[in-house]
């Protein structure tokens, strides 16, 4: 018995010693960093880098995927209940406001890689003066993606005005092609049309973004927004989307197949999503898919999201050293280059990467004469996908007039500001 006791004592001392030793090292091997994201935002190359990180440090990365339309609600609920979220994704700039940034956004200003950010990215990665985002992404935004082969068939060029767009759609209908592919089943998509008016209107009025940062600022106050919405409605009324019950069941994930099939002439798509079509259907060639700005209501600039979704470190996380190490790892030149090359994004938020613009980027910037600026999501709070998308779907199916849809958008924003009118 005595021998056994002595042996146990030695063993336990050894264990305690080992534990103490392990604690002294910076990162806790075997621990797990929880990263919340929506399913589309984590690609294979992100996972590969995560694996590399784990191999190097022993810290695991757990990507918790949440369905698109629940993402906001679920993350907010998790943050509020203090429940194991270390890193989460958010729309850059003021897109962060719905996540109570004063409480949850860790200040990354002092991190070594901050100086490597490109100038154009700076605005979107800060909130209230502090750098809070790690975003290795591209300048992104939405435009109309055309099937060039079909355009050739009708002998037309991408539209630079609403009238031209109507002409193209009419011509497409004559050759039995559904002019516009709208994934109605994914409610959020309906909100991206209006999204592209941000920069143009802000330049026109000078203080639109400022006004909309306050609940008293309303979209309804801007006649261009009403016109834009009316033109969106006209597209449906003329039958350019196809049969209502059909386009309402079309999904965003079907876009590659749909566009490549030649059944549709165009769709509203964002820059980096166009490459999925190329990947799956390379026969048509890159140049089959030009991207231009949405020319409704006279819009003539490209509103971009200054680098799309970025990662935010939860201030209340107890894995801060590990998370910072993860960001540092991702910010290494070779890893950024890897992401850039694998994703085929046009440009990237970091300066130290060798970049090579895509065809879509070229055509898009050409269509707006290189005039581009931030869109709503980065500069005003509560440009929320579900309420805005839903309001537009209601308009398209005839439950609301364009004016009523805009009013609904304002009402929902007021609710989120915390004001019940």
């Amino acid at each position: 018995m005595k021998k056994l006791f002595a042996l146990l004592l030695c063993l336990s001392m050894l264990l305690v010693g080992a534990a103490a030793l392990a604690e002294e090292t910076q990162l806790r091997a075997g621990s797990t960093l929880v990263v919340c994201a929506s399913q589309d935002w984590i690609k294979d190359y992100n996972r590969k880098l995560a694996e590399d990180f784990t191999a190097e440090t022993g810290v695991n990365i757990d990507f918790q995927l949440i369905p698109d339309d629940q993402y906001g609600n679920v993350v907010k609920a998790k943050l509020a209940s203090g429940d194991g979220v270390d890193i989460f994704f958010s729309n850059p700039g003021l897109g962060l406001s719905e996540y109570s940034p004063e409480k949850y956004a860790y200040d990354l200003s002092g991190q070594p890689w901050v100086s490597e950010y490109a100038d154009w990215a700076l605005e979107s990665i800060t909130y209230d003066g502090n750098v809070v985002f790690f975003a290795a992404s591209s300048l992104d935004g939405w435009g109309i993606l055309y099937n060039a082969e079909l355009l050739e068939q009708i002998g037309m060029e991408p539209a630079t005005s609403f009238e031209e767009l109507l002409a193209i759609c009419d011509a497409l209908q004559e050759i039995d092609v559904t002019p516009i592919f709208e994934p109605g089943a994914d409610t959020w998509h309906a909100c991206v049309w209006l999204l592209e008016t941000g920069d143009w209107l802000n330049r026109k009025y000078g203080d639109m973004y400022e006004k909309l940062c306050d609940p008293s600022g309303k979209f309804e106050d801007y006649p261009e927004v009403i016109t834009f919405s009316e033109q969106m409605m006209e597209l449906v009324e003329r039958g350019y989307f196809g049969e209502e019950e059909d386009w309402l069941s079309q999904k965003w994930n079907d876009r590659a197949e749909a566009m490549a099939s030649g059944e549709f002439g165009m769709m509203v798509c964002h820059m980096s999503a166009a490459d999925q079509i190329e990947e799956l259907y390379p026969e048509a060639g890159v140049e089959n898919w030009p991207l231009t700005i949405i020319p409704l209501a006279g819009n003539n600039t490209f509103s971009n999201s200054g680098g799309s979704m970025g990662m935010v470190l939860n201030k209340e996380s107890d894995m801060i050293p590990e998370a910072l190490a993860y960001f540092e790892f991702l910010a290494r030149q070779e890893n950024l280059q890897y992401v850039y090359d694998e994703s085929k994004m046009p440009i990237i938020t970091f300066k130290n990467v060798e970049q090579d613009v895509t065809y879509q980027y070229e055509t898009l910037m050409a269509s707006c004469d290189n005039v581009s600026g931030p869109d709503y999501t980065t500069r005003i709070p509560f440009y929320s996908a579900d309420p805005i998308g839903r309001a537009y779907i209601e308009m398209w199916i005839g439950d609301k007039t364009p004016l009523e849809a805009v009013q609904q958008i304002d009402k929902d924003r007021a609710i989120m500001f915390g004001v019940v009118e």
Binding site: P67, K78, S81, G82, D83
Partner: protein
């Protein structure tokens, strides 16, 4: 002309045949899910009853079981549902025993309060607040208690009726032997409640297992998610990959179907007895 007996027999066979044909309406959806869980993603995209063109595959099951999330959610569901049933049965039987025997005004009030729960929907937002105040939000314990609270009304109703059928003489003879209420209840009465306990426990278990709303509001950490919530998540994430989604659905349905098949008689008997007597 057929005799009465022959007529009855003919009707019986006719009933059986028609019944089984109609039951296809019930069975076909399940058949679709099972068949498609063994098809490749491409093949399952159509979600029909055709024979798998790319052959039967087990890869869907392998992939969804990989990472252990489904298994973990299974244990979560098991823990929460079982915990709920345990708590709910014991405390409700205890309470109903006293309420049924005493019939005082106060106890009537308490009973009607329980009964009201059958009708009124629960308010998750404020319940969550109470859990937070007790530092129980997001914990298994807090969740089990909430589920139990949801199950109490139905259990109360069933126990109230059943205890009425136990003669008070049994109580009296035990009391003469000098027992206190705890002993009286747990050693004498509770064993007699076995039939209704089995029925109510099964129904409460199934209801807790299938509950989607409660964990949606109450459980945030995905490591504590129940199977139903996990399925919902998979469905949102894997949108078009019906093969995998079907596999997840099948895995989620298996436990509940096992319980259902084993306890079928009790379930149906329970639902009808309580119901028919009003």
């Amino acid at each position: 002309m057929l005799t009465m007996a022959q007529k009855r027999k003919r009707n019986a066979i006719l009933s059986a045949v028609i019944g089984w044909i109609l039951s296809l309406i019930i069975l076909v959806p399940f058949a679709v899910i099972v068949v498609n869980s063994f098809k490749t993603t491409r093949d399952s995209a159509m979600m029909n009853l055709e024979w798998p063109r790319d052959g039967w595959v087990l890869s869907n099951y392998a992939e969804v079981l990989d990472g252990g999330q489904i298994v973990r959610s299974f244990f979560n569901s098991l823990l929460i549902a079982s915990g709920c049933v345990l708590v709910c049965m014991v405390v409700t039987a205890m309470a109903m025993f006293v309420i049924r025997r005493r019939k005082s005004k106060l106890h009537r009030v308490i009973f009607y309060m329980f009964f009201a729960g059958l009708i009124a929907p629960v308010n998750y937002i404020t319940a969550l607040q109470i859990l937070k105040a007790l530092h129980l939000n997001g914990t298994y314990f807090g969740t089990i208690l909430t589920y139990a609270a949801l199950g109490i009304p139905f259990a109360a109703f069933m126990y109230y009726n059943f205890i009425g059928t136990i003669p008070t003489e049994i109580d009296e003879s035990a009391i003469i032997d000098g027992t206190n209420i705890s002993q009286l209840f747990f050693q004498v009465i509770f064993p007699l409640l076995k039939p209704v306990t089995v029925t109510v426990a099964t129904l409460t278990f199934i209801s807790a297992w299938n509950d989607f709303v409660s964990p949606l509001y109450l459980l945030n950490s995905s490591s504590k998610w129940t199977m139903v919530l996990m399925v919902y998540n998979y469905w949102g994430v894997m949108q078009q990959e019906w093969g995998k989604i079907c596999a997840v659905i099948v895995l989620t349905l298996i436990p509940i179907l096992i319980v259902y098949i084993a306890m079928q008689k009790h379930i149906i008997a329970g639902m009808t007895s309580g119901a028919v007597k009003g």
